[in-house]
């Protein structure tokens, strides 16, 4: 079986400071990988390198494309990479306003990716938008409202709908539940979990919230100071952490 994503020796520095270094892993279809670590550990730098938002100094990010099989997305042409990020890839930002067009209606936000890949039937686009609003538990009545009129949780769900409408195979998520109330987080996680299962998505989730990865991620990568210090099955890493830093991380979580 071919991995969906093969990451090889990714390295990114900001001048003398290491963003991330020596990161390699394979992600298989349907797998959800969590990347945890504290602020400044390099997890967001890594995610941005993987998603093509940052150019790594070294290394390869090989994606198994539908048309041509495994291709290094770092060296592929920009049109190809942008096409990938509109079709087979999705990126869920921590702040919904970074991932939404705030001046465009909910329906228009969801429809944009469809129109970007050539859908030209208003009725169909609108039907799909309404279907996706339903899947992320937003009332059809809100389809013409702008996201500025939505709560934080709704904005985040709208962002997810906007990303998933083209049926991507790989979703990058940057702190998808950050900044949301705990009750809203639970609902969002439940929703994400269902969608990941239902659509057979592969996902890479960056978070500092261990509860999020326990619920969503099959496997875990723990980062510190730009280095990967531990990887493994999520429940094994959380219940039987091997590295000093992971032990500290796990034992620092407040028990409720």
């Amino acid at each position: 079986m071919t991995p969906l994503l093969q990451v090889k020796d990714i390295e990114k520095s900001y001048g003398a400071r290491i963003g991330c270094t020596d990161v390699s892993f394979d992600l298989y279809p349907g797998e959800v990988m969590g990347i945890v670590g504290e602020s400044g550990s390099g997890k967001s730098t890594l995610l941005n390198c993987l998603a093509g938002h940052l150019e790594p100094d070294a290394g390869q990010v090989i994606f198994d494309t539908r048309a041509d099989g495994p291709v290094d997305t770092v060296t592929m042409s920009e049109p190809e990479r942008r096409m990938l990020s509109r079709t087979d890839w999705a990126f869920v930002h921590q702040h919904a306003r970074d991932g939404l067009r705030m001046s465009v209606s909910a329906g228009g936000n969801i429809g944009e990716r469809l129109m970007a890949v050539g859908d030209r039937h208003y009725g169909d686009i609108r039907d799909k938008a309404i279907d996706w609003l339903g899947r992320v538990e937003i009332s059809e009545a809100r389809v013409d409202d702008r996201p500025t009129a939505f709560s934080g949780g709704m904005q985040q769900r709208l962002q997810i709908a906007r990303n998933l409408v083209t049926g991507p195979r790989l979703v990058f998520m940057d702190e998808p539940t950050g900044g949301l109330d705990v009750s809203v987080q639970a609902r969002l996680l439940d929703l994400l979990r269902g969608l990941v299962r239902e659509m057979g998505l592969s996902a890479i989730i960056v978070t500092h919230d261990l509860a999020v990865v326990r619920l969503l991620a099959d496997r875990l990568m723990v980062m510190k100071d730009g280095h990967v210090v531990e990887t493994g099955l999520t429940d094994q890493v959380l219940d039987d952490p091997q590295h000093a830093y992971t032990q500290l991380l796990v034992s620092s979580v407040l028990q409720v």
Partner: protein, 253 residues
């Protein structure tokens, strides 16, 4: 690592390693397994909790783990399930060495081959009970209706009133939650199972049902490792016992 002789024909198209297990080969086989915890943040204290653990469970066999509280029964179960990382030795389940396997291989193993009924139900809030029980089958890509029918049958057998099936089990009583957990654990016919106190706090009727489920699993060839404080239940379903105190460092036999 790959053996011959089908004991279980799995539907998983991706990771299946279990179609070719040799006849009379143990389903679960631990060889000289040790486990210790290194507390890096407490002066790097190394706490050995298990040494020289060996165990062999054949298809159709049920082995009870015994020993005093804290002797390491749960630790051993967790090592077999891949939840704890063995420090040394091999932990073969259906031919896969859990101690060295990739995460995705362990996940496939857990989906296909190795079931685990823990003492506590851990579910995502808001998911209806029927879905919770059917989930292991749905995860294997089984037909939705078939999965739901199977789940309904198990819930009925375990006396969960039908009116509760559409509700999330998070609001259920302790006993009800445990029965939901057991129904979920038995939804898929795993070739290997780990049972942690499956009959604790059940009334006579439900206890009987659970013991029948275990017997049926054995009859279809499942290899089972269990912790039973209920001595009668243990004597009824288990073929033999292994005292894990033998594997406790410093107290070895």
């Amino acid at each position: 690592m790959i053996r011959n002789m089908p004991i279980h024909s799995c539907l998983c198209p991706a990771f299946c390693r279990f179609e070719y297990l040799e006849k009379d080969e143990a389903m679960i086989e631990l060889t000289d397994v040790s486990k210790s915890f290194t507390l890096h943040n407490q002066g790097s204290a190394v706490i050995p909790v298990m040494e020289g653990a060996s165990l062999k469970v054949d298809p159709g066999e049920c082995v009870a783990l015994t020993g005093a509280s804290g002797a390491g029964k749960s630790t051993l179960m967790r090592v077999i399930y891949g939840n704890y990382l063995a420090a040394s030795g091999t932990v073969l389940v259906g031919g896969l060495d859990v101690a060295k396997a990739q995460p995705r291989e362990i996940l496939a193993l857990r989906r296909e081959t190795l079931g685990y009924v823990s003492q506590f139900l851990r579910v995502v809030p808001r998911v209806p009970t029927l879905e919770v029980v059917a989930e292991p089958l749905l995860a294997l890509g089984r037909d939705r209706q078939v999965a739901l029918d199977k789940a309904a049958g198990l819930l009925a057998r375990l006396n969960i009133p039908e009116r509760l099936w559409s509700l999330s089990p998070t609001t259920f009583s302790g006993g009800e939650q445990q029965r939901v957990n057991i129904a979920r654990g038995f939804a898929h016919a795993y070739p290997a199972m780990l049972l942690d106190e499956p009959t604790a706090s059940l009334d006579a009727q439900n206890r009987e049902t659970v013991l029948s489920l275990i017997e049926e699993a054995k009859a279809r060839g499942a290899a089972i490792v269990g912790i039973f404080h209920d001595v009668e239940a243990r004597e009824r379903v288990c073929d033999r016992s292994v005292n894990v105190s033998e594997f406790t460092p410093g107290q070895a036999a």
